[in-house]
Symmetry: C2
Subunit: 502 residues, 2 copies
C-alpha cells in the first residue's frame, strides 16, 4: 500500500462543472506520482471517488498535508472537512477513443454512445474532453442513426418513469422567446382533462428565467423522484425541476459546454429533448418551435429540418412527436423574469381582465393539439375543449392543486425598485431584440432575484406617443436597476420606434 493520502479542504472555488483538485506542487504525492497541472487524478474516500483535474498550488494556500477541492469536486465526492483522501492515477477514459474515432470518420455506434454518455454522466470527462465530444457531434457530423443511439444512451444514463398506462402527454418549447411560459397553463388544462402530463423543466442557463425558475415563485420545484411520482399520481400533472429527479443527467453537462462554444449541435439538441421526454415516461409529445430573428430558431428551413429530426428520433424511441411552429419575433405576455412571468400565468389562469391574450392563445393552441393527440378528444374539438377547461376555472383549480401537492402555493414576490422606460419619439414599435431584453433583465438581477426583470407595455406594430411608457425595469436594489438602465442606454436597438408608414 502506498502513502498517497492528504486531508481534504473545501477551498470554496467554483469552477462551475469541472471538478478540480488543488495540490501543492512540492507535495510527496505530486512528486512520486508525477502529477502536474491539467493531469487527471482519482480522489478516493473509501468507496466514494471522483476524477478531478489538478491545479498545482505554488503558494501557502494549502498546508503540506492538505489538498483543496473545488465546489463541484466537493459536492460530487460528498467530502467532509479534513477527511483523509487517497490520490491515484485514474484509469484512462477509454470511451474517448470513440470520440477520436468519430473525428477520424467512424460514426458513433450504439455501444460507443452508451460508453461515451455513461462516462460523461460519471464525471469522467474533463472540460476539454467534453468540448471534443461536442465538436465531434456538431451538425454536419451526426447522422440520424447516431442521434438515436445517443438519445437512447442518454435515457439509459438516468432514471426513468414508467406510468403503466398510455397516453402520457408532454410538451417542449425550443426556446429563445422570453415570457413564453405556456407550460404553466398547458399542464393544468391537460391534467384537468383527465390526462397524465408529468412535466419536467429546466432552470435558466443563460436566460433571465427558465420554466422551473418561474414555477418556483409559485410552488417548490425541487423534489425527489418519488415525490414527483406521488404528485403525478394524485393530480395527473406536475411542473418539476428536471435537475432534481435525475432524468437524462448528462444533458446539463453537455449543454454548458455547447453554450460556452456557442456551438448548437442540432443532433445533440434533438437527443436532449427526446431523451428527457422518454425518461419522463411520455408517449405523446408536442414541440413548439418559435421562429424569429432573435429567437433560437431563426429560419423556417431550420425549423423544418429540426422538426423532422425530432419526429424521426421520437419515433425510433416509441414516441409520437408533433411539431408546431409559432411566432418568435417578440416576447410573450408582459413579464420577463421569474415573478413577472408568473403574474402573467396567474392572470390567464384566473381569467383576470387584461390577462395577456398572446400567452393565453399560445397555451390554448398547444393544449388543444395535445388533447387531440391523446385520442381522448376528437380532431377539431381540442380548441373548444381546452378553452372550456380554462374558462370554467378547472385549469386554475388544477394548477393550485398541483402547487399544493408540490409543497404549497404562494403568490409571487414584488420588486422593490421600478423604473419606467418611455418613448423618446412618437412612432411605431418596429423591432424588439429579445437577446438585449434578456440581458437587461439579467443585469437587473433575474433569475436569482425572483422579482427582478422587465414588464413590457407595448407590442410590435403598436403606435406610441412621445413619452409613453414602453417597459418598466424591476429590481431589488438601486445598484442593479442602475446597471440594467446603463446597459439599455448603450443598446437603443433593444426596442426601436420608427416613423409610421402612412
Amino acid at each position: 500500500m502506498d502513502n498517497n493520502f492528504l486531508y481534504l479542504r473545501r477551498l470554496g472555488i467554483d469552477t462551475y462543472q469541472e471538478p478540480v483538485v488543488y495540490m501543492r506542487h512540492d507535495c510527496d504525492i505530486c512528486r512520486s506520482e508525477g502529477f502536474s497541472s491539467q493531469n487527471r487524478v482519482q480522489v478516493s474516500c473509501g468507496e466514494r471517488h471522483i476524477i478531478a483535474t489538478v491545479h498545482m498550488v505554488r503558494s501557502d494556500l494549502l498546508h503540506h498535508d492538505e489538498a483543496g477541492l473545488s465546489e463541484s469536486a466537493w459536492l460530487l465526492l460528498g467530502a467532509v472537512e479534513r477527511e483523509q483522501a487517497h490520490f491515484s492515477h485514474p484509469a484512462p477514459v477509454e470511451s474517448m477513443s470513440y470520440v477520436r474515432g468519430k473525428l477520424y470518420g467512424t460514426p458513433f455506434s450504439a455501444e460507443a454512445a452508451q460508453a461515451v454518455i455513461g462516462d460523461i454522466r460519471d464525471g469522467r470527462y474533463s472540460d476539454i474532453q467534453l468540448a471534443a465530444y461536442v465538436a465531434a457531434s456538431a451538425d454536419c457530423l451526426l447522422g440520424t442513426q447516431e442521434v438515436i443511439a445517443i438519445t437512447r444512451a442518454m435515457v439509459d444514463s438516468g432514471r426513468r418513469f414508467d406510468w403503466g398506462t398510455s397516453p402520457v402527454m408532454d410538451k417542449h418549447c425550443v426556446g429563445g422567446v422570453p415570457g413564453n411560459r405556456t407550460t404553466l397553463i398547458v399542464v393544468p388544462i391537460v391534467a384537468a382533462a383527465g390526462l397524465l402530463i408529468p412535466k419536467t423543466s429546466s432552470r435558466a442557463i443563460t436566460s433571465p428565467a427558465g420554466t422551473a425558475d418561474t414555477m418556483e415563485t409559485l410552488a417548490p420545484v425541487g423534489m425527489s423522484f418519488e415525490h414527483m411520482r406521488r404528485v403525478v399520481e394524485s393530480e395527473g400533472g406536475c411542473i418539476v425541476w428536471g435537475g432534481s429527479v435525475s432524468l437524462s443527467p448528462t444533458d446539463d453537462i453537455v449543454i454548458r459546454v455547447e453554450r460556452a462554444l456557442d456551438l448548437d449541435s442540432e443532433g445533440q439538441l434533438v437527443a436532449s429533448v427526446i431523451s428527457k421526454k422518454v425518461a419522463a415516461g411520455a408517449t405523446h409529445v408536442l414541440i413548439d418551435i418559435p421562429i424569429g430573428a432573435t429567437a433560437k430558431v431563426r429560419h423556417a428551413e431550420r425549423a423544418r429540418r429540426l422538426g423532422e429530426q425530432l419526429v424521426d428520433t421520437g419515433a425510433a424511441m416509441g414516441l409520437e412527436v408533433r411539431v408546431q411552429k409559432s411566432d418568435g419575433t417578440q416576447p410573450v405576455g408582459r413579464g420577463i423574469g421569474p415573478a413577472l412571468e408568473a403574474r402573467d400565468v396567474l392572470a390567464v389562469l384566473r381569467r383576470e381582465a387584461g390577462a395577456p391574450a398572446d400567452l393565453r392563445d399560445r397555451s390554448l393552441r398547444i393544449a388543444a393539439a395535445l388533447l387531440e393527440m391523446s385520442g381522448k378528444v376528437a380532431a377539431g374539438e381540442g380548441a373548444a375543449r381546452a378553452e372550456a377547461l380554462l374558462d370554467s376555472g378547472a385549469a386554475w383549480k388544477k394548477f393550485h392543486a398541483i402547487c399544493e401537492a408540490q409543497g404549497g402555493f404562494s403568490e409571487p414576490p414584488r420588486s422593490l425598485q421600478q423604473h419606467s422606460i418611455n418613448a423618446e419619439r412618437a412612432g411605431v414599435v418596429a423591432h424588439v431584440n429579445m437577446r438585449s431584453l434578456a440581458r437587461a433583465a439579467k443585469l437587473a438581477g433575474a433569475p436569482a432575484d425572483k422579482a427582478a426583470g422587465i414588464e413590457m407595455h407595448v407590442r410590435l406594430g403598436e403606435e406610441v406617443e412621445r413619452g409613453q411608457p414602453l417597459f418598466t425595469m424591476h429590481a431589488d436594489t438601486a445598484g442593479e436597476l442602475h446597471y440594467a438602465l446603463d446597459f439599455l442606454s448603450a443598446h437603443p436597438e433593444t426596442l426601436s420606434i420608427e416613423e409610421p408608414v402612412r
Copy 2:
C-alpha cells in the same frame, strides 16, 4: 466611467496554460456585469490586458476589493502585487465562427487560419475553445491546402529569422524515442562544414527530456532573438530553446491540448514542424521519422503519409524537405534523462572509447544527408565528409564554441543515488517498452532533476546472464529512486527477457 476595479493578488495556482481570474461571487463587479464561473473576462492594467476564465470564490480566500490571478494569468498580464485592474466583458472571439464553420463542413481559408491562429497566440481562446479547434483539425477533417494555410498563419503569428543567404539547414525528429539526441551532434558537424544551421528545440512536455533540456546541462539554451542571431552569425549554428525566441508561439498552446485529448492531428503536427523551420529561416530540412511499436509513429504506412504531407507543405512554404525513416524500437544511446543523454553526446563528440555507436551512426546519417542536400557536398560523399568532421575533432571544437557563444560550456551533473536493475533470468532482451522507461525516468525526477534518469546497459537481441545489470536508475533523492523502482516492479514489461531461440 464605471467602477469595475479590483486589486490583483497572485494566488500561486498553476492552471497550466489557461489564464484564470478568481473573483468573489458577491463582489460588485460580478453582480453588475453578471460574471459567473466559466465566463471569460477582460482584465486590464492600463494598456496591458488579458482575457481570462472566471472561477468564482465562495469563501474568504479573497478580500472584497481583491481578485486573484492564476500563474499563467499573472505572467501573461505582467501583473504587480496589489496593482489595480479593470474588469470588463471581452469582445467575443470572432474567429471561433471559423472553427464552428469547419465543424459544419467549411474548410479553413487562409483568412480563417490567420484569424484563428492569431487569436490563439493572443490567449483569446479558452481551453474548451482550443479543444474544439483541435477537434476541428483532426485527421480526417484537414486537407493539404488547409494545412498550408495554418502553417503560414503559424509562421506569421511569431517572429522570423532572415539570414539573407541560402542554403540554411535544419533538422527535426518526429520523436517518441528516448535518448535520440542527434541534434547535439548533427548541428556542430553541419556548422563545422561551413553551413548555417540555426536550430531551435523544445523542452520535454511529457517525456523525461527534450533536446533543449539535454542541451541545458551543457550550456544555456534560453536567450533572446537577438542573442540567438549573434550565436548563429558567429558560429554558424546554435541549439536554443524555441520557447525563448517566440518562433511559432501558438504551437505549444495547441500541443498541450492535443496531448490532453490524446488526439494527434497529422495536419497539425505538419503545420507545427514546418512553421518552426520557416520561422527559423531554414531553406533545407531533413526530417527523421523513427518507426516502432512504442514510438510516436508505429507503422510504415503512417510514416509514408506523414512524410508526404511534410514534403508537400514544406514545398508550399518554399522549403526543401527530405524525410528519413529510422529504427524506433529501442532507446538510442545509453542515457535517458538530460544529463545522462548529454554524456552520450559528449562521448560521441569527444570520440571516447565505448561511445554509443547507434547515436553516432544515426547522427552521421542525418548529417550526411544534410551536407548533400546543401549542395556543398556531392551526392554520395556526405557520409565520408560527416565522419571526417566528427573524427577530426572539428565537430567537438564547433560544439564547444557554440556552447561558449550561448553562455558557456559546462560538464553535465552526476546523480546522487543509483540503483542497478539486474536480469532475473538468463535469456535474450526481447522487448523494450519506451513509454514505461520514460515514465520510470520521470518518476526518478527527470527532467527537473537534470541528473536523474536511466542508464541502459543492454540492447534488443542481446543475450544476458541471470544477475547481469540491465539498466541503472539515477536519482537525486532516495524517495524518487524508490518511486521509480516501485513503478518498475509493477511494470515488468518495461524490459522483457525471453528464452533464446536455439
